[in-house]
């Protein structure tokens, strides 16, 4: 019988088709090819739902679809592309295709209605972006994941640099690709190392590399030396490989220190920002760690590093979000910070918690960006929050949906972000208390960041929507249509309710573990060895992660209290008719935060102050010394020197004739000697 899995390749191919259509014929299509994109992503969404339902019936799919490179001899490894459809990827497919569909619809309002040119290029880019991300999500091996990871990077380049006639966007696009490429370098070394170590890069199944790694651990079933660990003991080598792959994750998911591309990427059109931040590029990094969690679970060192990068990034980015003036900049830093939480969750042994946060964040961050886009349309493309104020009455739909997203971002009960962020922190706490004390440091950073998050989120809300309008534009904003409001409403509802699928504290309180649907979803029915249950076992056996039993209520109340405190402070300071620039009182700290800890200056200095002079010096050396020797040898030699002089003053065709004659003569002599012409 033909089932959902037979149609699953179309999930990726439909948006790809819309890319081709928009690229080739967008000029002749209404709305620059937008409808093709909408139809394609809607189709992907429907098929994803079908796949989701099939997976929830207990079926999974893990099979090769296309042999990219076939090994001719038996011993040569074939490189394949295939589909891995299990609870994790089925869930992610719905998130990606839903957000992509809403972004396409929203673009009608943001791009078409605003009279932008170059729409076919825009919709082609969106289509390819969606297709690449969907391809990444269903990838059944690390090489395929890398390939689509790179295509995602290309699409971000094309879309961030969409307005190529200005100075800013091409520069931001270049930075995004280059910084993430730096991370991808480590990723690619990791891919190659995985092949060299295991001879396969498959994610799931008995012949998958996480499973082979598991068996090769001390005490595992494989004999010593079953895999090539390059002279290291297995755990050390797997840690190294895991950290190499993590390089790509840090780049794409904008974790410290490779986060600097993300705020610049705001130069792209706002719907693209929504897509990048919520469901595609940035999500790809975290998703990859979740996808191969069975491998990371073998290495406590790698996990601790992931947790610390995450905790630090969550706090670090949140502080910068406090002082930004532009609405999209605040959101950009909030994205970095929120992905920090996901990394913290993964590193702390909270596989389900991190995946949960990935899902809720996708909804509320897409919502916030689209809401910001709606505000930007209304403000005639002015993004400075200090020029806004009082938009609440003028645009109620945008306001209430944006508020829903903000409550979720700040982590206020019962909005989606509360449940997921709380669970991430809870996992860090219980595993920290359970013996992995290092995690407590990461937990502390994450906890402090909650306060900052509450503050900057509501500072943004109050400055944008509350108080008196501070400019003419804010007094008389540009209206938005259904194509903007529709996606906002859908996401607004999701941001409010998506957290209900996994209310761990409530389940604990009522003694009803049955309502933790996501836990059940990721634990049940998956492919053996990629279920969350197996990961818990692995964490305990291999990484020595043990959860203390602790009621989730108290930690939940603590983080809720901090979020409310942050939001409350913002309320006191900014929810007034004419707010002042209170952050100025921070003095030097504000300058430091506003300038992003001078991270960008550091990178510019690296490029202009180190790499460029180095390249110029190398060029001088090459011209002067390496080539100088060549020229020197030729001019020292009298014979060569004389010949060069003669040719340089003579006529080239003379030399031509000589050469040709000489060659002909040579061939003739040999020909006659060999009796060719007899």
């Amino acid at each position: 019988m033909v089932g959902a899995f037979d149609y699953a390749p179309a999930i990726v191919l439909l948006p790809f088709l819309s890319f081709l259509v928009a690229l080739a014929g967008g000029k002749y299509l209404p709305k620059g090819g937008a409808f093709g994109g909408i139809a394609a992503t809607a189709g992907s969404l429907l098929l994803s739902v079908w796949v989701f339902l099939t997976v929830s019936g207990g079926e999974t799919h893990n099979d090769t679809l296309y042999t990219w490179v076939a090994g001719v001899s038996e011993e040569t490894v074939s490189l394949e592309l295939g589909l891995l459809l299990d609870p994790l990827s089925a869930m992610m497919l719905i998130i990606v295709s839903l957000v992509a569909l809403l972004v396409h619809v929203f673009s009608l309002g943001y791009m078409n209605d605003e009279g932008e040119t170059g729409l076919p290029r825009y919709y082609a880019g969106l289509g390819l972006f969606t297709a690449s991300m969907l391809g990444f999500v269903v990838a059944d091996n690390l090489l395929m994941a890398f390939m689509f990871f790179e295509l995602v990077g290309l699409c971000s380049y094309l879309l961030i640099g969409f307005w190529f006639r200005q100075e800013g966007p091409p520069s931001a696009a270049k930075k995004a690709f280059l910084v993430t490429r730096f991370g991808d370098y480590f990723f690619l070394v990791g891919v190659v190392a995985v092949f060299a170590t295991f001879g396969t890069a498959a994610f799931a199944g008995p012949d998958s590399f996480p499973h082979i790694a598991e068996l090769a651990m001390p005490g595992g079933e494989s004999p010593d030396g079953a895999v090539n660990t390059f002279g290291f003991d297995p755990r050390t080598w797997f840690t190294i490989v895991g950290l190499l792959v993590l390089g790509g994750v840090v780049g794409k998911s904008a974790q410290f220190p490779l986060h600097t591309w993300l705020p610049d990427a705001m130069e792209g059109p706002t719907p693209v920002s929504a897509l990048i931040h919520a469901a595609t590029m940035v999500a790809a990094g975290v998703y990859l760690v979740a996808r191969m969690y069975g491998f990371y679970a073998l290495s406590p060192t790698a996990l601790a590093i992931i947790a610390f990068i995450g905790g630090f990034t969550a706090l670090f980015a949140a502080t910068m979000g406090v002082v930004k003036r532009e609405i999209k900049q605040v959101l950009a830093y909030s994205t970095i910070s929120q992905y920090g939480y996901m990394m913290l969750g993964l590193g702390a042994g909270g596989y389900v918690a991190a995946t949960f946060h990935l899902m809720t964040h996708a909804f509320f961050k897409a919502l916030l960006f689209l809401g910001a886009g709606s505000v930007i349309i209304a403000m005639h493309h002015n993004e400075n929050m200090w020029d806004m104020g009082g938009l609440k009455e003028k645009m109620p739909v945008t306001y209430y949906t944006f508020l829903s997203g903000s409550l979720a971002l700040a982590g206020i009960v019962p909005f989606a972000g509360f449940w997921s962020k709380d669970e991430v922190l809870y996992e860090a706490l219980v595993h920290g208390l359970g013996g992995s004390t290092l995690l407590l440091g990461a937990y502390a950073m994450g906890l402090v960041a909650v306060f900052f998050t509450g503050f900057y989120t509501f500072r943004m809300v109050f400055l944008t929507f509350h108080g008196e309008p501070r400019t003419e534009t804010a007094r008389d904003p540009h209206g938005v249509r259904w194509n903007v409001k529709g996606p906002l409403v859908v996401l607004g509802v999701l941001a409010a309710t998506a957290g209900l699928v996994n209310m761990t504290p409530v389940a604990e309180m009522l003694g009803m573990p049955g309502i933790e649907l996501l836990h059940k979803w990721l634990a049940h029915g998956g492919i053996e060895m990629t279920t969350s249950e197996h990961y818990v076992t692995l964490l305990e056996e291999q990484a020595d992660y043990h959860a203390t039993h602790l009621s989730p209520l108290v930690p939940g109340l603590v983080s809720l209290g901090l979020a409310l405190a942050g939001a409350g402070l913002a309320h006191v300071l900014y929810n007034v008719p004419s707010p002042e620039r209170h952050t100025d009182k921070l003095g030097a700290i504000k300058t430091l935060w506003y300038n992003n800890y001078y991270q960008d200056e550091l990178q510019v200095w690296l490029a202009d102050g180190v790499v460029r002079p180095l390249a110029r010096a190398a060029d001088k050396f090459d011209q002067g010394v390496v080539d100088g020797v060549v020229d020197g040898v030729s001019s020292v030699s009298l014979f060569a020197g004389g010949r060069v002089r003669r040719i340089q003053t003579g006529i080239v065709s003379n030399y031509a004739a000589l050469l040709t004659l000489g060659l002909t003569a040579l061939v003739l002599v040999f020909g006659i000697m060999g009796g060719w012409f007899v």
Partner: protein, 508 residues
């Protein structure tokens, strides 16, 4: 006989074009250049050989007739193709034909001679890749230099004479060094071979039949010959530090010549390294693994850093070729299926991609009359199609998956990391891979400054959109690059088949 026909048709086409009037020479050459393309595609489609031509595998379209006797050695007219040479032949005909189309705009002087020399060069290049007798091979090998010398020296830029002579003398001296090395080997083999037949020599050398020569032990002789031949071919590739002729030649050469110079002529060096050094003396290759891997890494990183410093678009692409050829060397020294096979695949991939990049630079130059990064900005506004193809090509160069460059580089990295020739190979591999970051750096910076931003041009020319005969060849190349990226097996299957016997059966 198809090989003889292919070479002969190309020679005749060269002659016909040479005597044709200038006005029609371009069109005539383009039309005639399609014949070798069809011929090579026919060969490719009916290719049925298996194994490596030099280690006893079957050879496709083989001809072997005694030609003449020379000092006790029989010279044969011996030609044929196997899985390593077949893809190179196809790439040569396609790239040359497309380069001829792209020459219509820039070449406005002595056209019949230009196109005649161009086709003459193609015929010799085909000969290099299909010859299986050293003597025949060497004639073609040397004869390639002559037309290229004139193409640079007559139709080149301001310093064309310096560049042409540097190219000619440098590579010729290198050929001499190589020739001496090879001759020593043949004499060292003594009575075990009585011809310059490459398969016979290869089998004898691999079979350990090398004897001492004038009191020099077989081992020393082999090592010296290996080094001499390696140095000789290294200039051609070029491998750092023998690369300095290349940027000069590229900058001065007319763009269509650059296309073939980077696309095909450089591959002569790597092809010969594979056929001679790595096929005939695998033990020496392994013994020299560390220094060779080191120069490979040096070529990749140093070449890329030099590309970073350049302001001339053509120089950027020229140095990037040095970098890409470093990968090929790394793949060869890895000495396993993915390494050597990847190196061969990368020869094709780089040929197509660098050809596309040079064409792109040429199209921009034709309308702006400058190649300096600082002289222009925002060309995308005026030349959208060219920009689109250029950007696609640049990402191909950066190794974007599903394009040929990624396949080639990934095979090499995969092979080299897992290579067993020396314990340090993973480190060399990881070091050379950093080239993928630097290449993104210089290409993205160059594109940002020339193609994007507000439109500005510092020369007094009206920017016009490119003609069809300029964009269509680029588009065709792009399609080839994508086709090979999506299905590398188009070539990689026969490449593996020819490489496996070298590296001792299939290896992971």
């Amino acid at each position: 006989m198809i090989i003889e026909a292919l070479i002969a048709v190309t020679f005749v086409a060269a002659l016909v074009v040479f005597v044709a009037p200038d006005e029609v020479a371009g069109r005539l050459a383009a039309a005639l250049s399609v014949l070798p393309v069809l011929g090579s595609l026919y060969m490719w489609s009916s290719y049925d050989a298996a194994g490596n031509a030099l280690t006893g595998g079957s050879v496709a379209f083989e001809t072997m007739v005694p030609w003449l006797e020379l000092g006790g050695y029989t010279l044969h007219w011996h030609v044929g193709v196997d899985g390593i040479s077949m893809p190179l032949v196809v790439m040569t005909t396609i790239l040359t034909s497309l380069a001829i189309f792209s020459a219509w705009t820039p070449i406005d002087d002595r056209q019949s001679q230009f196109y005649g020399l161009f086709l003459f060069m193609e015929a010799n290049l085909l000969g290099v890749f299909m010859a299986l007798d050293f003597f025949v091979w060497f004639i073609f090998w040397e004869a390639v230099l002559v037309p290229m010398y004139f193409l640079i020296g007559i139709w080149g830029g301001p310093r064309r004479k310096y560049a042409a002579i540097k190219f000619f003398v440098y590579t010729n001296i290198a050929s001499l060094v190589m020739f001496i090395g090879f001759a020593a080997l043949v004499f060292g083999l003594g009575d075990s071979v009585s011809s310059f037949d490459l398969p016979a020599i290869s089998r004898a050398l691999r079979g350990g039949e090398l004897g001492s020569l004038y009191g020099v032990s077989a081992e020393t002789l082999k090592a010296v010959a290996f080094v001499a031949m390696f140095l000789g071919f290294a200039v051609k590739v070029p491998i750092v530090p023998f690369h300095t002729w290349l940027p000069d030649a590229h900058v001065e050469a007319p763009t269509p010549a650059s296309v073939v110079l980077a696309g095909v002529l450089l591959k002569m060096g790597t092809y010969a390294l594979l056929r001679f050094n790595f096929t005939m003396m695998p033990d020496q290759a392994t013994a020299f693994a560390v220094p060779i891997a080191a120069v490979a890494v040096l070529s990749v990183i140093y070449g890329a850093i030099l590309a970073l410093a350049q302001q001339d678009l053509k120089r950027i692409v020229a140095y990037s070729s040095v970098s890409s050829m470093g990968y090929v060397i790394l793949g060869l020294i890895a000495y396993n299926t993915y390494g050597v096979g990847g190196a061969t695949f990368q020869m094709i991939a780089h040929g197509l991609i660098s050809g596309l990049m040079f064409m792109g630079v040429g199209v921009i130059y034709n309308t702006t009359h400058t190649r300096m990064v600082g002289d222009m900005s925002g060309m995308a506004d005026r030349m959208p199609v060219t920009t689109g193809i250029f950007v696609a090509g640049a990402f191909g160069y950066m190794g974007l998956p599903l394009m040929a460059g990624f396949a080639g580089e990934f095979f090499i990295f995969k092979g080299a990391f897992a290579s067993t020739v020396h314990a340090s190979m993973p480190l060399f591999t990881a070091a050379s891979m950093f080239g993928i970051v630097i290449v993104a750096g210089y290409l993205l910076f160059a594109m940002q400054r020339t193609l994007f931003g507000p439109f500005r041009l510092d020369t007094d020319y009206e920017v016009t959109t490119a003609a069809l005969h300029e964009t269509v060849p680029m588009f065709v190349l792009l399609l080839c690059i994508i086709a090979l990226g999506v299905d590398p097996g188009l070539f990689f299957r026969m490449i593996q088949d020819a490489v496996n016997p070298l590296v001792g059966g299939g290896l992971p």
